[in-house]
Symmetry: C2
Subunit: 479 residues, 2 copies
Amino acid sequence: MSAHQPTGGLPIAGEQVPPILARLVEIVGPRATVAAGIRAGHGHSEAYHAARPPDVVVFPETREEVQAIVGACRDLRVPLVPFGAGTSLEGNTAALQGGVCLDMGRMNQVLAVHAEDMDVRVQPGITRKQLNAQLRDSGLFFPIDPGADASIGGMASTRASGTMAVRYGTMKDNVLALEVVLPDGRLIRTAQRARKSAAGYDLTRLFVGAEGTLGVITEVTLKLHPQPEAISSAVCAFPDLKAAVDTAIAVIQSGVPVARIELLDDVMMRGMNLHAKLGLPEVPHLFFEFHGSKAYVAEQAGTAAALAGEFGGLGFQWATTPEERSRLWQARDNTLYAGLALRPGARAMITDVCVPISRLAECLVATAKDIAESGIIAPVVGHVGDGNFHLLVLLDPESPAELSRAKAFNERLVRRAIALDGTCTGEHGIGLGKMDFLELELGEAVDAMRLVKGALDPLGIMNPGKIFRPAGPNHGEQP
Amino acid sequence: MSAHQPTGGLPIAGEQVPPILARLVEIVGPRATVAAGIRAGHGHSEAYHAARPPDVVVFPETREEVQAIVGACRDLRVPLVPFGAGTSLEGNTAALQGGVCLDMGRMNQVLAVHAEDMDVRVQPGITRKQLNAQLRDSGLFFPIDPGADASIGGMASTRASGTMAVRYGTMKDNVLALEVVLPDGRLIRTAQRARKSAAGYDLTRLFVGAEGTLGVITEVTLKLHPQPEAISSAVCAFPDLKAAVDTAIAVIQSGVPVARIELLDDVMMRGMNLHAKLGLPEVPHLFFEFHGSKAYVAEQAGTAAALAGEFGGLGFQWATTPEERSRLWQARDNTLYAGLALRPGARAMITDVCVPISRLAECLVATAKDIAESGIIAPVVGHVGDGNFHLLVLLDPESPAELSRAKAFNERLVRRAIALDGTCTGEHGIGLGKMDFLELELGEAVDAMRLVKGALDPLGIMNPGKIFRPAGPNHGEQP
């Protein structure tokens, strides 16, 4: 096969071959493709944002290939978008300016498990479920659970968190070190494997949450945690949202290290009954999970149940077997489908904000009023221990009017959260969808981000048009 | 008083008045001083590094004053060194190129306690003990304890951690947001007060650990933690270092959330007996502390005691009253003086490294051999749950030969730690003392730090000559 017969039998379908392709084929052979179906599959996501396919998709297998690909893109000034499992929600991987999509899915190996140190070195394309499957016999696990089976590299890039962040932290807290290919092609390690360090700037945390705009992650060292001796899950119904939120605050303040504490509003409970046949009352609920020794789990659960009772909770229902527990959290992980069950044929605009927990009830109540006044259907599910909640705004995908109404609602939501000292995104990242709100939230701090971006990626080839627009007027894409 | 009569009665002692002084006096009046004694007090630290006094010391009281001072330094290209309590250990605040020392000690107010959210907004000059005194009745506390009564701004700047990091994390984990004056004089907030966020680059973590080289911290929002219902402390003697370390690994792996687990070697125990009259056997010890409910503390302590027994521990001795507990940890906090008691008249070179816990015994045993072969006295104290330990190399302050021998020993120690996948500093920062080792540890990643520094501080006025040398030959100061 010549260097210019690029796609290993994959059809180019009459489209123009981009000049970068020859260089990529020299590097990875048939693992560079312009096949329309593959490009299309890398241009959309689970988000509501319009699809923007890349010109080429490339599947590297080694860090050296990634370095060569970055070098080729730099030489030809071609944009480059790192891609994990495609489960992000804010258009984070849309190829706004075309260019190369770097699908990291083939770099999905566990490189080393250090059981004594409770850490693991992995390639970025491995998903969290794949990782936990391989860790099953180690006595350890990786707790960060954003619901979707996201890739570890993608989770690092969006600073993912999810249901267990209240106990185990977010990706920011669980990444020990990264290997990164910089936009200039150099390979760096951001830290050693020691549990902590005060050695220079925290490059690890700089790349965690950078959404692929500062470089390509080629390896991740993660903290692991002991598999708990005992796990106990329960659900509790509440007469209203405020009672549920007040219970959550009291549980957190009591020092109970709850592993999960999830809020689902009455609308979401209706969707979950439709989708997962849970048969639970359609009022606000908290879903709890406790980890620890048997005695300590019982103590935690007792404290939480007593506090729920004080705030009007209608009693704990226990998921006593592993199967019941699994069914419960599977249903929680599928809230997207539960939400969609409320309006067959709809698509969901999924948004997330996070406020100080003391402002959460106020934020939720005002948002519920806004939903009612807007005439939209928008179930709520939240990582209430962190003050973080999601809304699924159900849309007719064919109706521009509905999209526009949803966007206006989302903007009011974000402004409300920011006014309450909250953030425009607790865990989905900025991507495209929250770009205007970042400036609203952090003001001139965004200029400091621009300076960092300009220093590390002066040509602007890494995932351009995400997080913030370049300085000056009329740059970048409109979200 | 005219703008050019600067020091409010403080003597200038015949020295030349630096041109920056007039500008500073316009901003803060007599709170800018060139008094020799005050300058000298801001040029040295508890470290062994040579004193380098600033030309002027200024005591701002507001963020606006800090902005104006940074602006004046920028206009006149004068170096600026932020200064907290002066307890850093690697020459982090030495005024290598003279210039202005910004003593933040007057900005020491608690601005807001949010008890429901378990966070607090403070000015950077408040010390950790001052903060905890003010939190006493809130049911909350700030756990990070580096031993010295450091300022919160300084602790953020050096990414401090200390004895409770194993349970509560380091400053990286406990700073929610910062207010920072950038080198260009602009004031930014790095984050809102929400518990987590995925909104753009993690500027908070970029400034945590930047040692004042990227800007001046003017406000810190910290996570707080519930005061534990019960606290229990114990000490346990071990026949050798390895038995103590193996116990620590087993305790961490068991999932016991130990609040403190400190290793002290036989030499340090001798010093502690001399200094604090502890009357404990002069063999390696672990000092433990457990936090939680009464029942859970008892369970944790039982698990730890059983594990210590398995590894040859010689039995737990409990500090049952608050007074005994206080005496124990006070003695631990005073290990510097305990160490110095081993050689009256000596000064200590204090160094710290951190390795993966699985490599800790190997690192400690090799280091003990090196100490014996070097003929030095160097007691060990370590935050063993994190793999982090300190050595106090006792020196005759008048002997260049001893200093040189100690530096060579320190370099071997650091190289040993790095070879074991560890870091040249677990918690003291790079400052001057570890500058050459940062490059050894992280290679070209240091260039990425230089790019960030150049972007945010293009004139190089912020704490110059620290962490790394500028790119190119013959730049910066030799440590």
